[in-house]
Symmetry: C2
Subunit: 302 residues, 2 copies
């Protein structure tokens, strides 16, 4: 499974109904967390996210609504007895903020906390394992801020079950077929792998565009993504306010999604001034039909 679960979609001031930004990306058996506003650890409980499976946390920038919940989450993971490493990626100053808060509490974490600084002006791959590759890219905000592209590689070839049966290959061998092996039959026939499988499906990508003003310069990072989250703090009648505050409108987010040719678009980071969110879809869909609201508790398949 490759999916995104929304824990918070509000900007700046948390409200009772809308929490600050946080998203869990599930890639098969591991969980990544992107941003961690205040209360994210409670939201993970609310939506039955297994905190123990979390092993990578990505913080886009150091405005509080994107990271004030991080220290509490780290603290709780230790109290819950975690022993596996946890890696946090974020602007360099975040390390000091974490360290000082652990130090004054005389807290020694039960697990190893690895910190990977995101370097201003750079970008590129910051995490990679067999299944997942995460890269970051700069976006335009008031302070250094980054977007993330999560790519799920699919290395298993796709089995054609009727073909495998026709060649009388035992089901116990199917996983080796998916890994690309040929099958040697007892009667001497060598069943070539590509007679019974298809190439792996293409890689999939989720792109998270954190707080940013409208910037067509990021289109290359969005291109070809199956699912893109782009902030839309305001509706387009407040285009100037959005620009002044380095934020975007729903219309702008939809335009980028269209121009980048992505699959689907998630809108979020709504200003607290909007108590009703229907207007964001009304504005985005005429530009880009596959637009959705990043509603809290909802899981979107990539």
């Amino acid at each position: 499974m490759f999916a995104v679960t929304i824990l918070g979609n509000n900007s700046a001031i948390p409200t009772l109904e809308r929490h600050p930004t946080a998203q869990v990306v599930t890639v098969d058996n591991q969980l990544l967390l992107i941003d961690c506003g205040e209360g994210s650890q409670m939201q993970m409980q609310r939506y039955h996210i297994k905190r123990g499976k979390l092993n990578h946390i990505f913080i886009s920038h150091l405005h509080g609504d994107h990271y004030f919940g991080l220290i509490g989450l780290i603290n709780s993971l230790s109290l819950l007895g975690r022993s596996e490493d946890l890696t946090v990626y974020g602007p360099p100053e975040l390390q000091e903020i974490i360290d000082i808060q652990l130090k004054v509490a005389d807290t020694r974490l039960l697990f190893k906390l690895i910190f990977v600084p995101l370097v201003p002006g750079n970008g590129g791959i910051i995490m990679k394992d067999k299944e997942v590759e995460v890269s970051y890219f700069p976006v335009q905000h008031r302070i250094p801020c980054y977007g993330f592209r999560v790519k799920r590689e699919r290395t298993k070839r796709k089995l054609i079950p009727e073909q495998a049966k026709a060649y009388e290959i035992p089901a116990a061998f199917y996983s080796r077929l998916q890994a690309g092996e040929d099958y040697q039959r007892k009667d001497g026939v060598l069943v070539k792998n590509d007679w019974v499988t298809l190439p792996p499906p293409p890689a999939q990508a989720y792109v998270y565009c954190a707080d940013t003003k409208y910037d067509p310069g990021i289109i290359p990072y969005l291109a070809g993504a199956n699912l893109v989250y782009h902030e839309s703090t305001y509706l387009h009648d407040l285009e100037q306010r959005a620009a002044d505050r380095f934020h975007s409108t729903a219309f702008q987010a939809a335009s980028l999604a269209k121009d980048a040719g992505v699959g689907r678009l998630l809108l979020g980071h709504f200003s607290s001034k909007y108590t009703e969110l229907g207007g964001f879809l009304e504005e985005a869909r005429p530009v880009f039909e596959e637009s959705y609201l990043a509603t809290e508790g909802t899981t979107f398949l990539v």
Copy 2:
């Protein structure tokens, strides 16, 4: 009005039903906040606490469940347009933790944030105005930690309305009678103040005993208080665990309340291991009848 509203009563790990420690003390028209765990600003919204009236925040110690919500609250107060000064009292390192988080976000608060360090080993009055006096005292915990005593002075004399009417004093003069003035009648009679008023009622006190192990040494700070909050992280069958972790049991809290001769006792800071809290009352009441659970959202009159 002099009252305490509980925003959170859980220890260490927040759960969906129980939030980390935070309490709002209402003294007539001003609000004091004691401790500010993660999510306190949302809890203030949930229970309709007017955040704008908050002008003093007291942090007992720097374990996260007592202050991780502070930076988010400060940030939101500024975003909401606050202009009045806000004073924060806490261990000295708290100032650096606040400052660094404002700095990396390039945040300039719209109001003046005054920080008053609580000095280890000291104690005494830290805040005083016409109505309220707050003093702090050291308690025994793993790291420097303090309790707070909030005293409400009552300076207005108590009017005896029937007497004031009998002497034909106009109602417009009543507030001056409460302030202690005599009344000069047109017919030459001087109505002495103590003919129509009684002395002000005695001062009232609320005492907050933050995370602490059982320590009869704090009894002098509790003595004569109308209402005392004392942590009771565990039930008494875990007395040894409580001592090891510098926490208290419900039995110990009740014993202190009895020995100090206080009015009523609030129990809180319950370990997450207890899903049901009835046992705390069952343990405390036989020792000290006037024991109550610090239930979230409940307001207790001092």
